[in-house]
């Protein structure tokens, strides 16, 4: 089953986020709890963990892209 992964809302006033780095490539196996990508906020760099296991089928944005909160950033193929 395909599942869309979205830009998380890391703080109440956050509207957009910059995806600063991918930590998994397309085709990589992803396990629950593994870090998938990084988002930089004012205070720190947040490594966003996968909440499901699967295969990272497609990255929908590139490193450095600004993405609206809750917009898709990747597609995960789950069982």
């Amino acid at each position: 089953m395909e599942k869309k992964l979205t830009m998380p809302k890391l703080r109440p006033e956050m509207e957009k986020g910059v995806l600063c780095a991918w930590l998994k490539e397309e085709g990589d196996v992803v396990t629950t709890g593994e870090a998938l990508f990084e988002i930089e906020t004012d205070k720190v760099v947040n490594q966003i963990e996968a909440t499901e296991s699967g295969i990272l089928k497609k990255q929908l944005c590139e490193e450095g892209d600004t993405v609206d909160v809750e917009s898709p950033v990747a597609i995960l193929e789950t069982e």
Partner: protein
């Protein structure tokens, strides 16, 4: 924005955060984790740890390092003490940290609400230890007495920064007053563990840090936390530097040599971060 060093990367688990956030919403509670945009939120929530912020989410002071909203606070919620106790039980917390917005508008600074919350936790979760991270309560000794009488295991009050930067960073607070809160509390009840913390990266010098440690130690304080200042937004007090993990290790060594019983010093150390482990470490002090 300065480039973030490698050691300022934190993990974030959306499901764990959503779960705790929902519980807090249901019980009409606030956490300082969310209000202060704490970098450790993801890790702590995953471990079912959080620091309750009582007395409402609006603060009467305007400290320039802090992300909590300044304004006119709402009246206290009489159900808050019991709701904190319920959340403590539901989350299975072994150690609870209670902090607050500073309430200069209340005659007792919110002391009675603190005491009620400690007592509610005692009633509902008898085995759980409690740490109160209080404001200076304008050094109102009656107010401090009310908190001390509830006998939390740890009484924490942060000095936040060196003497020389107090006016810029905490315009409505006073350095001596914060030290007096620690001194008075320890003298009033020597069995109480007292704790304080400060940030580095605001522009302080090494000599100023050393003097700050001396002044804190002189109050009889047991536990010290030292962490990196992280600028919440471009409107907040500007970040001067990122101290390295090695520098934090040196500060820890410096504090231990001076005589502190326990020191947590690391870039992401916060007064309530891993507070349980700190308490376990000093458990033989009881």
């Amino acid at each position: 924005m300065k480039k973030k060093p490698e050691w300022l990367k934190v993990r974030y688990n959306q499901e764990a955060v959503a779960e705790v956030a929902e519980l807090m919403r249901d019980l009409k509670l606030n956490t300082v984790c969310k209000e202060a945009n704490c970098p450790n939120l993801g890790e702590c929530y995953r471990k079912h740890t959080s620091t309750f912020m009582i007395l409402g989410s609006i603060c009467t002071r305007n400290c320039r390092f802090c992300n909590v909203t300044t304004g006119h606070p709402l009246p206290l919620d009489p159900e808050e003490p019991m709701n904190v106790a319920k959340a403590t039980k539901k989350m299975g917390l072994r150690h609870v940290v209670l902090t607050c917005s500073t309430r200069d508008d209340l005659p007792d600074g919110g002391a009675e609400q603190f005491a009620k919350t400690v007592r509610a936790i005692r009633e509902v979760c008898p085995g759980t230890t409690v740490e109160t991270l209080i404001s200076d309560m304008k050094m109102n000794t009656e107010a401090l007495d009310a908190v001390i009488a509830a006998h939390p295991e740890v009484l924490n009050h942060n000095v936040e920064t060196v003497k020389e930067l107090q006016v810029d960073i905490r315009p409505q607070a006073r350095y001596e007053r914060s030290l007096d809160v620690l001194r008075y509390s320890k003298q009033k009840d020597p069995t109480l563990l007292t704790k304080t913390g400060f940030m580095v990266g605001l522009g302080e010098t090494e000599d100023q840090i050393s003097s700050l440690m001396d002044d804190i130690l002189d109050t009889g304080c047991d536990i010290l936390t030292i962490g990196q200042y992280l600028q919440p937004s471009p409107q907040h007090y500007p970040l001067a530097r990122y101290a390295t993990p090695e520098e934090f290790a040196n500060y820890k060594e410096m504090a231990l040599v001076k005589g502190f019983r326990h020191v947590a010093s690391a870039p992401l150390a916060r007064s309530s971060y891993k507070a349980w482990e700190v308490l376990e470490d000093v458990h033989d002090l009881y």
